[in-house]
Subunit: 186 residues, 4 copies
């Protein structure tokens, strides 16, 4: 198959996952972001890269955003929001972060394949992505031609980019204002 | 607009960008990866996150892949390939990397909006993405409802995931084999 | 106090910590590194920066070294060695990494303030640094004028640089050969 | 040689480098930090790890500190300070950062072996470390038994830790207050 044939299938898969995301949950996700004083973003592996892209856009919007594990990330406090991207919802380090966030009274938003997971149980809002799990494919699961967690990772990235546009709309922001905060040393 | 309405437009935009990628160029890109002994991946900002996702999948395939700027990345040599993601094709640090790679006789693959850029001029293959540039919107440019370079970044990420499937097909690899190399500490 | 007065005290403190490191343990540490096929380095916060500096030097020596959590770090296997830097020896994510490493039969080397810690209990070699713990200062503890874990972090960094020289001596390596592997894109 | 013998020599070398740092320059460095509204820290390779450790401590002190290249680092502005660690003072990406910082009217502090370097020429304060350069050893150079830039990297790390204590003294801060800002998710 050539790149165009693969692209066609990937876009059909993304159409399925993105169109299945509950709009009320999406609104709650956006509201939590909008109200948070500080937003801490966490994810492992390729989900980590997607959530870093989100943290960067939040910075462009003038939000106090941080990536868990980066150098200048402070302690999370009561008025903080922890955004976790985790397909399984069971990644140990992320479960630890979630329980620490709960302990201090912070809020948690989770993007996951698994709405019954340990992190989902303590989250204030859960965005469910209908993508196959790389670890535990079961009968009846969503199908994907893509390897491992790729469909989930793409979908969470695109969903967070959509959430950015919803936040821009709520706050009457435009791309040029955001571009003004773009790092000038890179 | 709610998330589903935004999703519809984003998917239409991605359909445009992905379906405009030249299949012969895509094949050359995949071939360069397949033949390289060591693959060095470089990008700044959100393009950097996308190319890191690619570097990680290459590692899952058993390739010797590295991210420029990470701790254990060695010097690039004659048999190396440098994969650069840069919307403008002019990011100074990446222009420097490209000229160093050329100097030692390594090959260069570029994913960019700008096929006339400085990096494009020294690249062995250029994948052009028809997305608007955040810095220099001109009349006649591709339109996007998305802020800054988002459409480019999404498109390059999806294209590299498609390249992974083309590599898997060439090498008769499956998701389970790749999952076996997935980091077990994270 | 000016910088010279502080320097005098810091150097006295470092003289105390470095001169208290057990030479037999140091030899065992160096031997484990020398025999390992792949070396995985892990640490949080400022200890993480020190262990990354070690991972980089190991790469300069031609070793297969990785930093846990970086993009191209594969799964640890039976012939791997996990080097952990942790003052408390109780950092949750590092405890998880240690137990995963044990599970696959890999070896563990720990540099710590606390030789009774959870990680110390499963480690094959423990390098004890006589520095105060930032979290749980107790009577009889080592004193330092430095804040938080600074003395520990400095000492572990210097100890690992010393281990590099011991490895160079064992393998008849010199600085120029190592410099040849230094990243040429940075 | 065993670890204690190496330690003795390393400490003598550090005594030389740290005791040669000009106290007036050190005071100016500390003052620039104290007065800056935002502090951007940059370095490549092992110097990068040292300057990240400094950025983290500044965050613990309640300063707005950032690492150039990390996710949530914004654009540098007129009231910003750029702290660069570079042995040669010629690392291309860092020269670019320095010229961008100058362009917007920000201040620059440099820690280097080479006070005649390109970055030194545009810096507001230069801390010179009397350590050998890994790339261009010349007759009359400082000697070190350590490979590559190790003595420089250790010295800059210790100097910045000393600068932290000078800042604490100026601002009547103690370790416990700082520990309260330590990341609680890691």
């Amino acid at each position: 198959m050539n790149n165009l044939q693969y692209a066609k299938t990937v876009l059909e898969e993304l159409n399925h996952t993105l169109m299945s995301i509950n709009p009320e949950k999406a609104d709650s996700f956006v509201e939590l972001i909008d109200e948070a004083n500080e937003i801490f973003c966490a994810g492992a592996g390729r989900s980590g890269f997607q959530v870093k892209g989100f943290a960067m856009r939040l910075m462009h919007m003038g939000k106090h955003s941080y990536v868990v594990g980066e150098t200048c990330t402070p302690n999370i406090k009561e008025d903080g929001l922890l955004v976790i991207c985790s397909g399984s919802g069971e990644t140990k380090s992320l479960v630890n972060h979630a329980s620490k966030a709960k302990e201090v009274g912070a809020k948690i938003a989770l993007i996951t394949i698994n709405p019954e997971s340990s992190i989902a149980k303590v989250a204030d809002v859960v965005i469910e992505i209908s993508a196959p799990s790389p670890k535990s494919a079961k009968e009846g699961d969503i199908q994907s031609i893509q390897p491992m967690g790729s469909l989930f990772e793409q979908s969470e990235g695109l969903f967070m980019d959509i959430a950015i546009m919803m936040l821009m709309e709520r706050n009457h922001m435009d791309s040029d204002t955001m571009f003004g905060r773009h790092a000038n040393m890179e």
